[in-house]
């Protein structure tokens, strides 16, 4: 983590990947905070923060733009911490406005009755919009470090794939049926003229297919802009200044999923340099052999049983962490304990950050 926060390469991007439910959002925010603590201007892009954390970061009132987080009383840091909560829909609206060939075209698209649904599907929901927002922040050159909390998707790799997903959709052969190339760009076809579309009509209902064709008619000419941008976003994700942070917990199932992610990234030539194992139960040392659980009499029986239970748990956790170390010998591994209480304010976030250096 020290490399991430002290590196002078600007702007640096840290993408936090990992299975759901392991505390990725908290770790993402803590990482940005530790950069602010060493004097950097850091921004964290959250996707779905817990309500109280969102309030602590001031993102509860936020739109889609970064907002400076003010330290609480008695706190302060030499750099700056900024935060935003992604609003996927509004990000796509901005893209439409940007790539429309005229104001009238943008209006027509935004007013289309199926726009809302189709834009959600077309952009791969939150994943692509998160990449888009990241791209925008990096282009603005306002930050030394941008940390992205990836959406709680079933497969965190969806995030990496998001720009290519959009490109693939644009290249999709059935999609191409809906548009025919013209000199200007693409034009939508007649539904009745095409056997595939008739079959789709049978599945989806005629009206919906017609509405969709209409949407793509209005979309004509914008395709190239989207395509170029998606390509550059993809390049950003794969650039040398983009770093991956894997967040997991010391459980068999989350480690399985985490190692799978690492293997997938590795297949793409991308390395995970940092691992954060979150929610680790502490080791308390062991009791001498004579103190056998269940035979301790009297008021200490419960305490002895407790210690034995926690000892079993922590040794199994160690086994899982060993699997991670073995699979990723070059990665820096940080352990964050299961903290008492929710991470719902900046003080608690600073506590998490303290385990990341």
């Amino acid at each position: 983590m020290s490399d991430l926060v002290t590196s002078s390469a600007k702007p640096l991007v840290a993408i936090c990947v990992g299975p759901g439910g392991v505390g990725k959002t908290t770790v993402s925010a803590a990482l940005a905070l530790s950069a602010a603590q060493v004097g950097k201007r850091a921004c964290v892009v959250t996707i779905d923060p817990a309500r109280r954390l969102a309030d602590a970061l001031g993102t509860g009132q936020l739109g889609n733009e970064p907002r400076l987080v003010s330290p609480g009383a008695g706190q302060g840091w030499p750099g700056e911490l900024w935060a935003l909560m992604l609003d996927a829909q509004s990000t796509f609206d901005h893209l439409v406005a940007r790539y429309a060939t005229s104001g009238a075209q943008a209006q027509a698209i935004l007013a289309n009755p199926v726009y809302r649904n189709i834009s959600a599907a077309l952009s791969g929901t939150q994943e692509y919009m998160a990449v888009e927002k990241l791209f925008e922040l990096v282009e603005s050159a306002s930050f030394d470090l941008v940390v992205v909390d990836t959406p709680p998707a079933r497969h965190a790799l969806d995030f990496m794939e998001a720009p290519r997903h959009l490109l693939r959709l644009l290249d999709n052969r059935v999609f191409r049926l809906l548009m025919t190339p013209t000199r200007a760009g693409l034009r939508a076809v007649e539904v009745g003229a095409n056997v595939m579309l008739r079959a789709l009509s049978r599945v989806a209902g005629g009206q919906v297919v017609a509405d969709t064709v209409q949407f793509f008619t209005e979309f004509e000419g914008m395709e190239e802009g989207f395509r170029a941008r998606a390509k550059r976003a993809d390049e950003l994700l794969r650039s040398p200044t983009t770093s991956f942070v894997l967040v997991c917990s010391p459980r068999r199932d989350t480690v399985d999923e985490a190692l799978y992610l690492v293997a997938q990234l590795s297949r793409e030539g991308l390395e995970v340099e940092t691992v954060v194992a979150n929610r680790c139960y502490p080791r308390y040392g062991s009791l001498p052999l004579e103190v056998v659980p269940g035979t301790a009499r009297g008021p200490l029986a419960g305490l002895v049983a407790n210690m034995a239970q926690l000892a079993v748990l922590s040794s199994k956790q160690d086994e899982q962490l060993a699997r991670v170390r073995e699979a990723m010998p070059k990665a820096a591994l940080y352990q964050v304990p299961f903290l008492t209480g929710e991470v719902a304010d900046l003080e608690a976030l600073q506590k998490v950050a303290s385990y990341l250096s």
Partner: protein
């Protein structure tokens, strides 16, 4: 409530909750409990289109001692009948193929799939992939209702997590609004009918006794009732630390005389460890109790409870322990009375 009555409430139990709180575990434990009283169960895990790995299916299989990954065909996890547990996963693309076959587009279906038509359908008709999967579940439920040979008595649907679950269960309603006529509308109507009938379908929420999961559970419950019109059966509080009798004072000076009186010769370091482990335990138990109470006040649903397991992996031994616990919890079931 006795176990058989619990499972007689509904044919389909949809299990959902925040990611990481134990949805798949609870699905497996419920299935195992139903099997114990002689019911034949199928656990259906819902996979999104294009999934390359099914960690959830591997977890479910491991719970029953199987090293396997689930597919379209049912896999037996516990022998029977009676009391058989089978499992399968349902994906939108295979559901789409079946649907097209049923609507006379058999020849085209493979071509459509190969050209990535599902993506286009998902784009053109958002909610369609989800509804196709629910349509398949409805088909299984109808087979169960008709007492068809090979059909299960109970279907446990290991559904997508929290927010995704709302979108998933909302899909037929959305399609009813969007699609004017035709087979999609008919299918959507049938699925809505199933979702809205508590004797056919109910939702079981899963949470851990922690602040954020409880917050999300309360929110999701509200959204499901408003947007998907499904009946909420119960909330399962998973991974609760089992109760333990601890001395009132947990500092080293307070414990030293107790250690002496018990005849335990402990070095100071060992006593300190005992003390801080005890403090952690107490703190966790109290925090969890507070969350459980908050859940009860913010979401007036019957609560079932499963204990925390001091391990990192769950297999058949743990399945047995958890099934015992669920059985005891169901026996203590207090249906929420009308005011």
């Amino acid at each position: 409530m006795d176990t058989l009555s619990f499972f007689s409430q509904s044919r389909v139990l949809i299990v959902t909750g925040k990611g990481g709180t134990g949805k798949t575990t609870v699905s497996g434990v419920m299935a195992n409990l139903a099997a114990r009283v002689g019911l034949n169960v199928v656990v259906v895990q819902v996979a999104a289109a294009g999934d390359r790995l099914e960690p959830e299916t591997a977890n479910l299989c491991r719970l029953f001692g199987e090293q396997a990954v689930l597919g379209y065909e049912e896999l037996s996890l516990r022998p029977g009948p009676p009391g058989q547990v089978k499992a399968r996963s349902l994906r939108p693309d295979t559901a789409l193929v079946e649907y097209l076959h049923l609507h006379g587009a058999k020849r085209l279906s493979r071509r459509l799939l190969n050209t990535g038509a599902l993506e286009v359908v998902a784009t053109a008709v958002p909610g369609m992939p989800d509804m196709l999967v629910l349509g398949k579940v409805k088909q299984m439920e109808r087979a169960a209702a008709a007492g068809q040979a090979g059909a299960a008595d109970v279907i446990v649907l290991d559904a997508p997590a929290a927010g995704h679950a709302v979108r998933f269960l909302q899909s037929p309603h959305g399609l009813l609004e969007a699609a004017a006529a035709g087979p999609v509308r008919a299918q959507a109507r049938d699925v809505v009918e199933m979702l809205e009938d508590p004797s056919r379908c109910q939702v079981v929420l899963v949470t851990t006794p922690e602040e954020t999961p409880v917050n999300e559970t309360v929110e999701v419950a509200q959204l499901l009732e408003d947007r998907a019109a499904v009946k909420l059966c119960a909330v399962v509080v998973n991974a609760r630390f089992p109760p333990l009798d601890l001395p009132a004072g947990l500092s080293v000076p307070e414990l030293a005389p107790l250690a002496q009186a018990s005849g335990l010769a402990l070095a100071p370091g060992e006593l300190a460890s005992l003390a801080s482990a005890g403090q952690l335990r107490r703190q966790r138990m109290e925090a969890q109790a507070a969350q459980v109470a908050r859940l009860a006040s913010e979401l007036p649903l019957p609560q079932l409870e499963l204990p925390f397991i001091f391990s990192v992996d769950l297999g058949p031994a743990e399945l047995g322990t958890l099934t015992d616990a669920l059985q005891a919890s169901v026996a203590n079931w207090q249906p929420v009375g009308l005011p």
